[in-house]
């Protein structure tokens, strides 16, 4: 009984998502505020870049979520193609605009950071170009998913696109390792960080804050998409009756 299964889970999802949404959004905003204040007021400047280094507390979380958003789309696409669970399709569609926004914020904050440090707003190096491509891929995904939904598609085509697009994630990650670029190498790895602890410590706070906020926005959009699907189904039933 696939129809019952599909109906039951969104209901349970909504029951959890409704109270969780404001919680995530407000906790995220609070953490971002605390982390930003700490990053502006409490940490020392960098020996080379001076106060410019503080853009990091915004730039790194936006980059992380720009890429994390696409990982979410790819995982949801896998789940949708394998288990055909409608919530997975809706999750992927809900993540796309949030991920695109954060990818754009990453490009903008990086550009503002690049001008005083590197001496340029933009260069076509491997890291910058691959991140810009990810932003365009997000735009393509949104157009495709929308067209698919409007023409009564079942979401399989955007899901395939979601999996194909993950080719960009290793490119972005390893662009600064394998190619020579203007962008510096990886500061934060699995084993440690090349950023001194006195400068680094507010970064996890803004990172978690932006991530919670991102999750809250995604839940909000998932609920809106579910609501729209429900309304359309009801209108169709009424038109038939």
């Amino acid at each position: 009984m696939p129809s019952l299964h599909a109906l039951a889970n969104p209901t349970r999802f909504l029951r959890i998502a409704r109270p969780l949404t404001p919680l995530l959004v407000w906790a995220g905003i609070a953490l971002v505020a605390i982390g930003t204040w700490a990053g502006l007021a409490l940490t020392p400047p960098d020996y080379l870049q001076g106060d410019t280094v503080r853009i990091m507390y915004l730039h790194v979380p936006t980059a992380w979520l720009g890429m994390g958003g696409w990982s979410g789309i790819a995982l949801s696409s896998v789940a949708y193609l394998v288990w055909r669970h409608p919530l997975a399709n809706i999750a992927a569609r809900a993540i796309a605009p949030a991920g695109a926004t954060f990818a754009a914020l990453c490009l903008i904050s990086g550009s503002i950071w690049g001008r005083p440090t590197w001496g340029t707003w933009w260069q076509w190096d491997g890291r910058l170009t691959s991140m810009l491509l990810l932003f365009f891929v997000y735009c393509g995904y949104m157009a495709l998913a929308r067209a698919d939904a409007e023409r009564g598609g079942d979401g399989r085509v955007p899901a395939v696109f979601g999996i194909a697009g993950s080719a960009l994630l290793p490119v972005i990650r390893y662009s600064v390792v394998w190619w020579n670029t203007l962008h510096q190498g990886q500061s934060i790895g699995l084993t440690g960080s090349t950023i001194d602890r006195s400068i680094l410590w507010p970064l996890p706070i803004t990172l978690v804050g932006f991530t919670l906020f991102f999750a809250g926005v995604v839940l909000m959009r998932m609920r809106a998409l579910l609501g729209r699907i429900k309304t359309e189904a009801r209108l169709r039933r009424m038109a038939r009756a």
């Binding site: 960098d46 870049q49 440090t117 590197w118 260069q123 994630l169 394998w178 950023i195 006195s198 680094l200």
Partner: protein
């Protein structure tokens, strides 16, 4: 194997193939996707003459010399294996300093020198407060 398991294996294989293709393309494009030539690249494969290129590396310690006209700067770019002398006339970026990264845009001359039309500073991934970076850096940062 149920249909679901079959789909799971197929989708995961597709995902792995996509990522592997990207990684292969990246390593194949290593030379074309490079943002700049390093001095040892130039020594290995010859001077890229007659077109605008970028030269990148570290500014060698003690190599920065300013000419009497006040705008021309001469310095040496090194990547640890080879060095290239660079001439540039203009305003250098704030982060342009010895033992720090630089990317110069310009042209190679037949004698192996590089004439830059623009300089970009490239910093590394180590961020630290001035008191950790030593006295020399501290005075410089505070003066700015």
């Amino acid at each position: 194997m149920t249909a679901k398991n079959q789909r799971l294996v197929l989708v995961l294989l597709a995902l792995a193939a996509v990522v592997a293709a990207a990684l292969l393309a990246m390593s194949a494009l290593r030379d074309q996707a490079a943002f700049f030539y390093a001095p040892s690249d130039v020594r290995r494969s010859g001077l890229p003459l007659g077109r605008d290129v970028r030269l990148g590396g570290m500014v060698e310690a003690g190599s920065i010399a300013r000419a009497h006209d006040g705008v021309t700067v001469r310095f040496t770019v090194t990547d640890g294996q080879a060095t290239t002398p660079v001439t540039f006339a203009g305003i250098v970026p704030d982060l342009f300093r010895e033992r720090s990264g630089v990317v110069a845009e310009g042209r190679f001359q037949p004698d192996g020198r590089f004439v830059a039309t623009n300089l970009l500073a490239k910093h590394d991934e180590k961020y630290m407060p001035p008191e950790l970076a030593g006295k020399m850096h501290e005075t410089r940062t505070l003066k700015q």
